[in-house]
Amino acid sequence: VLAKKVSNVGFEAIEIADRRPVGLDELARYPVFTEELRQVLREALPERRHAELVWAVTLTARKPENPKGDAHDG
């Protein structure tokens, strides 16, 4: 999904260079992951999933040498 969004605005040579799992506790850094939401997730998901709820990814892309006009909507 991330690569698609990057592609939609005109980037090319998109590569996912790395990814690692991110767990529930680490998600506390993001204001939207309130304690309430994390509790819902904690209860809704099996414990084995708590350590890899989302992925942290590293992505590279390049703006074309001859971009076709302005970036369009993603």
Binding site: N8, V22, R29, L41, T58
Partner: protein
């Protein structure tokens, strides 16, 4: 679900201002040089040259510079730079003839970043107030755009990517680290989370 952008920005500023002021407080999430080295693969010898004031508040999710360092003389933009660990690494790489524009919306982070410029003497790094969706940069002015754990915090991620595209020169590179939601979390929770993750 309607996103209250102002409230979101306030909440983000509050959290990261706390990190800037008190990086050793003991957050639920990881911060600092040890985390960057042990979890994200930053080279210890590279971080060792930076003062604690730069590395202490670091709260990224990956290493966007692992795919390639900027070259001497290049212009780099760091979206949501925080106190600037990646920006300072980029600043050392571009050298005095290059430029790093570290963009952040949090006043406390900007103040810390500017203090760190004075502390390190890396005056090629400039901290500018701005938002990921409206970068304070001219069109086609950057060789490299980096970001670390920030784009997921934007309520309009497509606009962030459009801005990165706009400010890059033709052939310019985007290198970012961020979080993406796992596909098999419960639908109700996914609906909320998907708004915030890439």
């Amino acid at each position: 679900m309607t996103v209250d952008t102002e409230r979101l920005r306030e909440e983000i500023s509050k959290v990261y201002s706390e990190v800037a002021c008190d990086p050793k407080k003991g957050y639920h999430f990881h911060t600092g040089a040890a985390y960057a080295i042990e979890r994200l693969g930053y080279a210890p010898e590279v971080l060792a040259v930076l003062p604690d004031a730069v590395t202490g508040p670091f709260a990224g999710v990956g290493n966007p510079l692992a795919m390639g360092m900027p070259r001497t003389g290049e212009t780099v933009v760091d979206i949501g730079a925080g106190s600037g660990m990646d920006a300072f690494l980029a600043g050392r790489a571009v050298g005095p003839r290059g430029r790093v524009v570290a963009v952040d919306m949090t006043e406390v982070m900007l103040e810390r970043g500017r203090d760190n410029v004075a502390l390190t003497g890396l005056h090629q790094i400039e901290f500018r107030k701005g938002w990921a969706e409206v970068l304070p940069m001219a069109d086609a002015s950057a060789d490299l755009v980096i970001s670390n754990g920030v784009i997921n915090l934007s309520p309009d991620k497509a606009q962030v990517f459009r801005e990165a595209f706009r400010v890059l020169k033709p052939g310019g590179r985007l290198q970012l680290a961020d979080i993406v939601v796992h596909k098999d979390i419960p639908p109700a929770a996914r609906e909320d989370i998907a708004i915030w993750t890439a």
